[in-house]
Amino acid sequence: MSETVAISPGSTPQSAALATAAVVMLFPAYALPVMHLGILGQTASDTTILSGIVQLWRQGLGGLAAIVFTASFLVPLLKLGGLGWLLLAASRKKSKANPRRLTRVYAAIDFIGRWSMLDVFLVAFLSGAVRFGKLASVHPRPGAVAFGGVVVLTMLATHQFDPRVLWAEARRSDANNAVKI
């Protein structure tokens, strides 16, 4: 019953590799258009993640723009920033960071991760539903693939990271203190 699982030594480097790939994918994800909207009588336009948020804001939908901005822009950046912090703390042999706090950061990253899929579902729904030929149509663009890649990679990186490594140093110092006593 008290059997425990050893921390996999590869979990931190694997998580770091996935997080690095996600950082690389961030650039095309935000720079490339995620969808193309064509409406009869209006100029066809490509929409990026950020221009989509601006459009919502201009339509007077400030609250909705804030939700999309949080889910599609802030959350991926916070996740990658948080993961970077955790990976740095895990790689230092003598980290001064509080493991309890870091574990809370990990739990938060794990919780918010899925909400970045909002824009992918949005483009999927629009490109599947708005198919009226020349009257109105929505087509996905390569930015959607890059953004989907960011979401998948950050989720995999979080999943791969083993938060128990954050406690390893605390355990070692506890064990040393016990030996001294």
Partner: protein
């Protein structure tokens, strides 16, 4: 404590069964009907997957289908299986295995995010097309809610069962 655990288990089973039953009309009934200049187009749940697939973004289409449809239905099925087998001593090994799968699948099941994505799409469409919500979307929204409730109840089960799960993890 035992009484609370029993009720929590029964509630989780009831929510999971309700979600699983709702998954059928959610997948088959009209999701949304869009209208433009007298032309109408009715979509079903899986049209989101086809939207990507038809434009050459197959991997993204599969990803959307997985997170929005297959994983939630798989999770509900696993929850029903776990909660139906946890009181049979002969099925404990199977039960532990099913629990591990449920925890693995839950990570990728995101029906609530898809519901929010569709809501944002409605606002984004604005005056471009007329939108009529179909019964499929209502059922999918309810399924999403029941999935969340079932998972929450499942995670609030008594400690003994969590210990059993952890020891199952340890033996893998």
């Amino acid at each position: 404590m035992a009484e609370r655990g029993r009720l929590g288990r029964q509630a989780a089973l009831a929510f999971a069964l309700a979600g699983l039953i709702l998954a059928i009309p959610a997948a088959l009934l009209p999701f949304v009907t869009l209208g433009k200049f007298g032309r109408e187009r009715t979509t079903i749940l899986t049209d989101s997957f086809q939207g990507f697939w038809a434009h050459g973004f197959e991997s993204l289409g599969i990803w959307v289908l997985l997170c929005g449809v297959l994983a939630p239905i798989g999770l509900l099925t696993l929850l029903v299986a776990v909660l139906s087998t946890d009181r049979h001593p002969a099925l404990q090994n199977l039960n532990r295995q099913l629990r591990r799968w449920a925890h693995g699948v839950e990570y990728w099941a995101m029906p609530e995010v898809q519901v929010l994505g569709v809501m944002v799409a409605f606002f984004k469409l604005g005056d471009v097309v007329q939108v009529f919500v179909g019964p499929g979307l209502w059922c999918y929204g309810a399924m999403s809610l029941f999935t969340l409730l079932a998972w929450r109840r499942f995670n609030l089960q008594p400690r003994q069962e969590r210990v059993a799960l952890l020891s199952g993890r340890a033996s893998s």
